[in-house]
Assembly symmetry: C2
Homo-oligomer: 315 residues x 2
């Protein structure tokens, strides 16, 4: 087993892509032909929704796997369908891993130490039931909220270390008001800069052969000014970058997420890939009946856009 960051870099090189496809099911946007397969299950409805979501995810994974190595299911959109939704979340991870993809569980958990340990074991670790060891969700990495402090993060770090998994600490999130608390000036630094320093520090014990740590950072593409500073503060951290596409960030915005080696960042897109059929120019070109072609082409185009940055950054 290799360090999570080496695993990440290997798959980026293999697929020639540092895109992450966010597997965020929006029930209304899932094509009707999938929904109709399960209409006999419309009661109970949560089971029906979960089965539709899983089938959609499987079809999406089949389309994207030749072009991308990383997926990121956002667990909130599964929790929305109760325990059936969580069943779909678990099965989605299992299928993605069978296809050789790296799975980042976007769970943003954070709690007091004993509780954080339970979350860490649930998502990237293991649990004993009498003498049997089970791996409940078995994601390769998770996102973690640092608000509770170092003792709430340590169980995730220890679990990541034990199982060669990764974590991404929320440093500067992509939502419009993320600065409200994250940009508060504490002494001479902004709160998110202090958390960035901690994140780089926490990561020093888990550095892989390529020089990156298994402890990364979530840095929103929607705040390009902060990115340059954060890149310097966290040289060994991989950035998981949300906000590209549907949230409005462009190629120029994410350019400085990358180091000179062309590495150090993975760029997430969810709605703009999964539901490309609903967005120009794919909407006009393909529409919903050819949603798979729209998704494929949107992903290929995103790969090309990002790879141009690579060439630019590594000049």
């Amino acid at each position: 087993m290799q360090n999570f960051s080496d695993h990440l870099i290997a798959i980026i090189r293999k697929k020639n892509s540092c895109v992450v496809v966010g597997l965020d099911p929006h029930f209304k946007l899932i094509p009707d032909d999938i929904k109709q397969k399960f209409l006999n299950l419309h009661k109970p409805s949560l089971e029906y929704a979960a089965r539709v979501i899983l089938e959609f995810n499987i079809q999406v994974i089949d389309i994207i796997t030749p072009y991308v190595g990383i997926v990121k299911p956002q667990i909130a959109f599964y929790e929305l369908y109760g325990w059936w939704g969580i069943w779909a979340y678990a099965e989605t991870i299992k299928y993605a891993k069978e296809k050789g993809l790296i799975v980042i569980g976007d769970v943003k958990r954070g709690d007091v130490p004993t509780t954080a340990e339970a979350y860490a074991n649930a998502h990237i670790g293991e649990v004993y039931v009498n003498d049997t060891i089970e791996t409940p969700f078995a994601a390769d990495a998770v996102t973690v909220n640092p608000f509770l402090g170092t003792d709430s993060i340590l169980p995730f770090i220890q679990t990541a270390k034990k199982h060669n998994k990764g974590i991404f600490i929320l440093v500067k999130t992509s939502n419009p008001l993320s600065g409200e608390f994250q940009n508060l000036i504490c002494g001479k630094k902004k709160l998110h800069e202090i958390i960035a320093e901690k994140t780089n520090e926490w990561g020093k014990d888990l550095i892989g052969k390529e020089g990156y740590s298994a402890i990364g950072a979530v840095v929103g593409a929607t705040f390009p000014k902060e990115i340059t500073t954060l890149r310097k503060v966290m040289p060994i951290a991989f950035f998981l970058v949300p906000g590209y596409g549907a949230q409005g960030a462009t190629v120029q915005d994410i350019k400085y997420c990358f180091n000179k080696d062309g590495l150090g960042a993975i760029i997430n897109a969810s709605r703009s890939i999964l539901y490309a059929y609903d967005i120009s120019p794919w909407k006009e070109k393909y529409g919903i009946t050819a949603w798979k072609e729209a998704t494929r082409e949107a992903l290929i185009k995103m790969n090309e856009e990002i790879n141009e940055i690579f060439l630019d950054v590594t000049k």
Copy 2:
């Protein structure tokens, strides 16, 4: 339907208790007689664990219902058993509500607005599946992490308002290093004081007949010095207070969580009630075979201890 805070106050008065029993299943500590009922299910193990947990919770709820009106399942200890664990979480909430208890889902969720909306609907709201409305978890309130800012909180507030539910914002958590970020000085105030001001502000639109808001705050009993300040900053917020019992806080520590009206706080205990049989003096008096008596007596004693503060505060 009444405002969540009025609902809370009504049940506190009815049961003469402002205790919250934390339903935190620790598989190893669950008595063997319950585990043996499900041994034919030891494969698959996650299902077995989940069925044991649910049965334990049902027995606990039956014991505590005469003495307490509020329970707080911590979802991490259910996620630890995968989607089967979440099934046990959902069924636990359903059973507790059938018994007339108020259920606070301790989920500590927090995410960007569209994602926060999914979490809010999952836990205290509803979801449409085609034309059917489903309520996935149907807790009465949830805990929420404020790190992402106001736009990440608004979906929870709006959902709480629409369905007469409650939320508790993490203001000052009970873990030993909670001060690392939460006590940082931003200008003239500590970060958690700034969040406390926001919490009181967010709550002004959801005030019930008794003068309290449906937007409360999590304030750890383990930091008594902060409590007095926070009580002044958030006069209309109910405090959900963890840290009593197993985490070391005493009656004196939580005294100033209450307002002069004897209201404004609910005090959580988990391990010291659920596994009282494992703690002195109940360990010696009862032991594991009489675990129900230990739990009942520990709870009655905790009620008495806290009610003495009431008398003291309202003098």
